[in-house]
Symmetry: C2
Subunit: 212 residues, 2 copies
């Protein structure tokens, strides 16, 4: 264990490296952290992720792995404790479907509120009869969608609009509460005030550039 | 085997169901095919893929699996013969990275030629010392990127522009040749003339709408 090199390249504010941080911590794997400044990327980050030049990167015994969902699969295959995917192939496929779903959506424009509502409705359905997307325990889908649990509230605060109400999304709200306050998850969120300040600043910059 | 229900929902022209068709045939799994008309989707397709309402869908013993890359993982886990992913976890991660890479890119606008060239350059690098992306044998990455091997030539013909030349992309051209004429792959391409007619028609419609 002590001879094993495990390092995560992250930023303080980006939600996607968190998926990897959570996974490693849930599995009890020790690791080092390298904080990147995306406006001045380190030569190491460019070397390890020459294609996308993004965080997260996981470095394991000298070998880099890129893309948060690919890293989650790798972590789950490499450290077997606290499995993130179910055993049953069809259940695994469903988990991968929802993890990918979360991943695709993050690229769409936040402004499209009706489409966002439709997406949240699908997630609400998926939570029926379950505490987490993974069932009784946190799994890969929870880690993939977990950023919603914290960042959605922050986005709501910054834009001054409630997206998730109790009446329409009771299960999703319950999940946000359960997930965001779960052990390990709770301790690893970025500071809320600083995130709000960052989002406020980029929103103001966007407004100043004439975007809505 | 005879009691097993395996069915693929596809269209005659879309490249992404082909990934699934190839995978099943490479593994020697028998299956039925359901041809969909995307302008008039069947109630079954809407029932099995209510979120994206797209092909491919794999139906296995009554259970639907959606999203071509998720289906490839499922097929590889369910039918072990002719493995599509390498055994080594780091090699698996690299394969998943490139498969996802192919998947992300398909969503970008074809018009961005310089960016497309950069992407092809990454693929050219990845092929160094290998016959297929999967090594000596076709693997998951080949199936994910395989559409390029056929559709790229058709796009070149329709837009009247050579994208891949021998000097810049010798390995990629070699791979296109090897992959598109490999057993099983070769027999399952849609008819070339009909694809060209389809692309021509949609290009003309786009030009008529004033798009370039």
């Amino acid at each position: 264990m002590a001879e094993e090199e495990v390092k995560v390249f992250r930023t303080w504010s980006s939600p996607f490296p968190l998926r990897v941080i959570w996974a490693l911590k849930l599995k009890g794997v020790e690791f080092d952290t390298e904080y990147e400044d995306l406006s001045n990327k380190s030569p190491l980050l460019l070397q390890y992720n020459p294609v996308h030049k993004k965080v997260p990167v996981l470095l394991h015994n000298g070998k880099p792995i890129c893309e948060s969902l690919v890293i989650l699969e790798y972590v789950d295959e490499t450290w077997k404790q606290f499995p993130l995917l179910p055993q049953d192939p069809h259940e695994r496929a469903k988990a991968r479907f929802w993890a990918k779903f979360g991943d695709d959506k993050e690229k769409e424009r936040e402004e499209e509120i009706p489409r966002a509502m439709e997406i949240l409705q699908h997630l609400e359905e998926e939570l029926k009869g379950k505490k987490f997307f993974g069932g009784e325990k946190i799994g890969l889908v929870d880690l993939a969608l977990g950023w919603l649990a914290y960042y959605l509230g922050i986005i709501e605060e910054v834009i001054g609009l409630k997206l998730i109400d109790q009446e329409k999304f009771p299960l999703l709200l319950q999940w946000i509460q359960e997930f965001s306050t779960a052990p390990i998850i709770q301790e690893n969120w970025p500071p809320r005030d600083e995130l709000i300040a960052k989002f406020d600043a980029s929103r103001e910059a966007a407004l100043a550039r004439g975007l809505k």
